[in-house]
Amino acid sequence: MTSPPRAAVVLFPGSNREGDVARALRQASGAPPAIVWHDDRALPAGTDLVVLPGGFSYGDYLRCGAIAARARIMDAVRAHAARGGLVLGVCNGFQILCEAGLLPGALMRNAGRRFICKMQHLRVENASTAFCRGYAPGQVIKLAIAHGEGNYTIDAAGLAALERSGRVAFRYCDATGAVGGRANPNGSMNDIAGVYNERFNVLGLMPHPENLIDPLVGGVDGRAMFRALAAP
């Protein structure tokens, strides 16, 4: 019998969505994830999926995610990704992955300067990955966003490479799936809300799928990601 993948959630000083991520993983797989401390040297043996949760690691000092990206556990996360292991970074976790060089680009201050906390529609740009195979290509989903620095920025060559290789995971859009204008909450280049690495085993996104897993809090569009990740 194949057992469900084993998940680990990394806890940095200032992380605050680790409980939400753990709940989403447990709902999908029936098993709680391991919680790994930032100063640990190794991931639990047999870890298949590492999640870097949202929050304000190290108080967002220097740059969002900059200090967490240099934490001791990140060497193990880097090795895990190099082996083809899955890594998911949500919000501050996305910022950390960019700062760690595991994903391209940087998350800059929102163009409108304000911290944004609201529901946001997204278009699934690539539904053929381990993270998004539970969605349909082009599907419009609704997740929560809550960030002050989500303005995805990358040089022109890097942007072209992302687009060419299908590595844009999600784009901000309106309820009909149309992108641009007011549907882009933070000024991100090409409306990018999430990106993959070259091997599609590392995903970072600003929106919070872990917060949309229960009809009581406004929707369940985040479930498909955790179900896909929990499937053996």
């Binding site: 700062e99 929102n110 920025t153 000024g187």
Partner: protein, 79 residues
């Protein structure tokens, strides 16, 4: 040895904080402000043999942590 590192946003990178400061300066009646870009200054006391060694270590610090090369440039100040 007392040293100073200055980190600035690369030209063309959007700087909403700089824009807000620019607007505030204009509204305070500061004349002739064409644009404002906000950066960071790090005053670092470093214990090395000479200035050349300090520069090497500080460049290493910038590459590893102090600056994000995707969006920022850095300069190590000479006395």
């Amino acid at each position: 040895m007392k040293t100073r590192v200055i980190v600035t946003l690369k030209p063309g990178v959007l700087d909403p904080q700089g824009k807000a400061i620019e607007g505030a300066l204009r509204s305070l009646g500061v004349d002739g402000v064409a644009s404002v870009r906000q950066g960071k200054v790090f005053d670092i006391d470093i214990d090395v043999a000479d200035r050349a060694a300090a520069k090497r270590e500080l460049a290493d610090a910038c590459d590893k942590l102090l600056a994000n090369a995707i969006v920022e440039d850095y300069a190590i100040e000479d006395d």
